[in-house]
């Protein structure tokens, strides 16, 4: 973290203004993300063209035909991307369905960012939270109206506990959260594999790591008939509202942001930085835990499987950066990534483009958001007077 104990360049009032978020304009905040997404899509098109193994040799003999085929390939890919994300009610349901865990996980990362903590451990927290929710989901025999909130509460506790370990380690020993959370990811992965083969979780009569299914009452009810969209999306929306309220309307949120902006400043203002680290990680992990519950109780087969959190924890980092760590920004970024994911699946099925391309697009989007100079250089936009970049901790601080 920053070694200087001062208030930044402009003194205390500027520090306060930045922490309280006064003075940011929406149009200015939007232009870089929009251009970043556009540029990423263009580079994605180039990658598709360059990796078209069947067409590449044709460029030597018949460039016109090769050009036509390549353009066809790119057009088909983007058409599939669009149709799969917005082209039909089913597609829109798929987009919202895919956005649900992304929004929750993105909020988890965003809360950490605002407090200057980089939670890369969302995957592990999802795993632990999801397993806790699953345990409630198959072992208690209660009506849905009681069982689902209980399962969600278990997910919150599980996720908060797992992230809290990293928070506690940082507060007590100074161990950098980037390394501890990544290590906790791996540990959670193996722990879940073990649990899935233990007698508590494993489906009867199975030898592979797969759990028994959650009770029907614990399965998230669907919102649009047969489409996969379920109440997890409403949970995500509630979480957006909650995080907004927590960060901008409570003393606790103010402390989170103050410590994130300048830990020394927070310390001099009388805040317990160690306590903030633990509670930020706990809140972050709780949100991740909800995302984990969604990945088990929100989709078929309603069972725990090995590494059910997939890549969502890493998508969430991109998402939090894209949304500038603001809950509403995360919501929109989540919808965009949900669309990319739903469309990416269609793209893989219909146009044969591996869905990993979406990861590449995400990395490109983050790098351009994190380095707005890059976008400005490409599109020759004038530099605004002050750029509110993402404040992150540097060094392996103690």
């Amino acid at each position: 973290m920053s070694s200087d104990g001062d208030w930044g360049d402009q003194g205390y009032s500027a520090w306060y203004a930045r922490v309280s978020g006064v003075g940011s304009s929406l149009a200015q905040a939007m232009i870089v993300p929009v251009l970043a997404v556009l540029t990423a899509l263009i580079i994605g098109a180039v990658i598709i063209a360059l990796t078209d193994v069947d067409t590449l040799p044709l460029w030597g003999s018949d460039p016109a035909e090769a050009f036509r085929l390549t353009m066809d390939g790119i057009f088909n890919a983007f058409k599939a991307l669009f149709l799969g994300s917005l082209g039909s009610p089913r597609a829109i349901s798929e987009t919202l369905f895919a956005a649900t865990p992304l929004i929750l996980a993105g909020l988890a990362v965003a809360v950490g960012f605002q407090a200057g903590l980089f939670n890369i451990g969302v995957n592990g927290q999802m795993l632990i939270g999801g397993m806790a929710a699953l345990w409630v989901g198959f072992s208690l025999d209660l009506p849905a109206i009681v069982l689902i909130p209980l399962a969600l509460a278990a997910a919150i506790v599980g996720g908060a506990f797992w992230a809290g370990i990293a928070g506690l380690l940082k507060a007590k020993t100074g161990a950098h959260e980037v390394i501890t959370t990544i290590m906790l990811n791996f540990i959670a992965l193996f722990l879940v594999d073990y649990l899935l083969k233990s007698s508590i979780y494993q489906a009867p009569g199975r030898n592979d790591p797969i759990s028994r299914p959650a009770n029907v009452a614990a399965q998230f009810p669907r919102l649009l008939g047969d489409h996969r969209l379920q109440i997890g999306f409403l949970v995500a929306l509630a979480a957006v509202a909650f995080v907004w309220w927590l960060m901008y309307r409570t003393t606790m949120g103010f402390e989170f942001r103050a410590v994130g902006f300048n830990p020394d400043g927070g310390r001099y203002a009388g805040m317990s930085v160690a306590w903030v680290y633990v509670s930020v990680m706990a809140v972050s992990g709780a949100l991740a835990g909800l995302a984990g519950a969604n990945q088990i109780l929100g989709l078929e087969p309603y069972r725990g499987i090995s590494n059910f959190s997939g890549n969502i924890g890493f998508d969430a980092i991109a998402l939090a950066l894209l949304g500038r760590s603001h809950p509403v920004g995360v919501l929109f970024a989540g919808l965009l990534f949900g669309a990319l994911k739903a469309g990416g699946r269609e793209m893989q099925g219909a146009a044969g483009i591996p869905i990993d391309l979406v990861l590449v697009l995400q990395a490109l989007i983050i790098v351009m958001i994190a380095a707005p100079e890059l976008v400005r250089a490409i599109y020759r936009i004038k530099t605004p007077e002050q750029e509110a970049g993402t404040t992150m901790s540097t060094g392996w601080g103690s």
Partner: protein, 426 residues
């Protein structure tokens, strides 16, 4: 970086306790607890009269039938006794400087007692495991050296994972197309390229260095998985590069135990040894090293005496990337000879932990690499022995060790003072 709290705590009547002494107390208690644990679980847990056999040579070695047989229970008793003795000595706090040495000896003994217990009634190839330790330590050590090269000049490189993965990928493709040496060159150049990307993002654009690293990691994972599925799945001949074969060093390779451990490997492992020693010498005894360190500790001062801070940073970050590229080549051109999606599985991050554990010094980093290599080897070989411990828990060992290390149980390490801070020339 806030300075470590050096406020002494008063204990009893006016007696000062320094942090080092407090740590000695903790380590002493840990050693005593370990002594009890070894006595209870490993000594009493082995049946009386059962023996463990450790094979000390590989099949077809010059001295083929070296082996060492011990009585499992008695070894447990002896180790427990030594641990208790060490714990008592440390608790007396008369020689605080030796706390870490006592802890290291204690942990090695515990590992040995554990192996004896696990192998009781069976025979176990000790030399095979030590050899695996060295081999598995290589990617971790190379990753840690990469991190060290960058952090010594004040740039945090969390992209080691992505650099290893991309270099491994390029090494496979180029190696399959034009031979393994070309693959090696391709991998090293890929590492250099990604090092340059990190350097530009961190030094030119002054992006938060951790974000820059994470971006490179996501990009590397996405791009290599995408290409593996889109290109390698169709062109399978591009995913079989062959591998570098081991060359035994004459004479040294025949020494029992040490020979197979250190002197009968492929080129990568020897080069790693040379890199470790060369970098240690370079960093602490040459002008290049002094300049690099000064840029990492106090760039303003370095600038004042005429060192070009940016140039030093660019050069070292790119060199670091080349080391990671070499490490990536090791994965696909020596270890498995094919590329698999996300095959690095956290090695880059373990390398970072090894860098911290090794206190930003190449020799220390190698020692840390060996510890992680041992943890991995233990996990591999114990699976064969069939212990009552579930394999998942064995798999967790390297990651738990990493957390313990970064949490500073092995003592506080001090990173370069300007680590992670962009330099803005006036």
């Amino acid at each position: 970086m806030k300075p470590e709290s050096d406020t002494a705590i008063y204990e009893g009547e006016g007696k000062r306790v320094t942090p080092a002494e407090r740590r000695a107390t903790i380590v002493g208690v840990i050693l005593i607890v370990l002594a009890v644990f070894v006595f209870w679980v490993f000594a009493l847990g082995s049946e009386a009269g059962v023996q463990s056999t450790f094979k000390l040579s590989l099949p077809q070695a010059r001295f083929e039938d070296l082996a060492w047989t011990v009585n499992s229970r008695w070894l447990g008793f002896i180790v427990s006794g030594i641990l208790a003795f060490l714990g008592g000595m440390v608790l007396r706090r008369s020689h605080v400087k030796w706390t870490n040495l006592a802890l290291a000896i204690g942990l090695i003994l515990v590992a040995f007692a554990f192996l004896t217990w696990a192998a009781s009634g069976k025979s176990f190839s000790l030399v095979g495991m030590l050899r695996a330790t060295v081999v598995l330590s290589v990617p971790v050590t190379l990753g840690a050296l990469t991190g060290l090269m960058c952090e010594r000049v004040g740039v945090i490189n969390i992209a080691i994972e992505g650099q290893l993965l991309t270099a491994a990928f390029v090494g496979t493709i180029v190696g399959s197309a034009w031979g393994i040496w070309a693959g090696l060159v391709g991998a090293v150049l890929t590492g250099a390229l990604l090092g340059a990307v990190l350097a530009v993002l961190a030094i030119r654009f002054r992006i938060d260095q951790i974000i820059a690293g994470v971006v490179i990691n996501i990009f590397a994972l996405g791009l290599t998985s995408f290409l593996a599925r889109r290109v390698l799945s169709e062109a399978t001949h591009l995913n079989s590069p062959g591998r570098f074969s081991p060359t035994k060093i004459p004479f040294l390779g025949d020494i029992p135990v040490l020979g197979p451990m250190f002197f009968n490997h492929n080129m990568f492992i020897y080069v790693t040894f040379i890199l470790v020693i060369g970098l240690h010498f370079g960093l602490f005894y040459t002008r290049w090293g002094l300049r690099s360190r000064s840029v990492g500790e106090h760039p303003e001062a370095a600038d004042t005496v005429g060192i070009n801070v940016y140039r030093v940073r660019y050069r070292n970050v790119i060199l670091g990337g080349m080391i990671a590229g070499f490490g990536g080549a090791f994965l696909t051109l020596a270890q498995v000879s094919r590329f698999e999606e996300n095959m690095t599985a956290g090695i880059g991050f373990i390398g970072l932990a090894a860098m911290i554990f090794g206190r930003w010094m190449p020799l220390g980093v190698f020692g840390a690499g060996l510890v992680f290599g041992f943890a991995r080897a233990l996990q591999q070989k114990l699976g064969i022995l069939g212990t009552p411990i579930p394999s998942e828990f064995l798999s967790m060992i390297p990651y738990i060790v990493t957390i313990i290390v970064v949490a500073g149980v092995v003592g506080k390490a001090r990173p370069p003072a300007a680590d992670g801070q962009p330099y803005i020339k006036d």
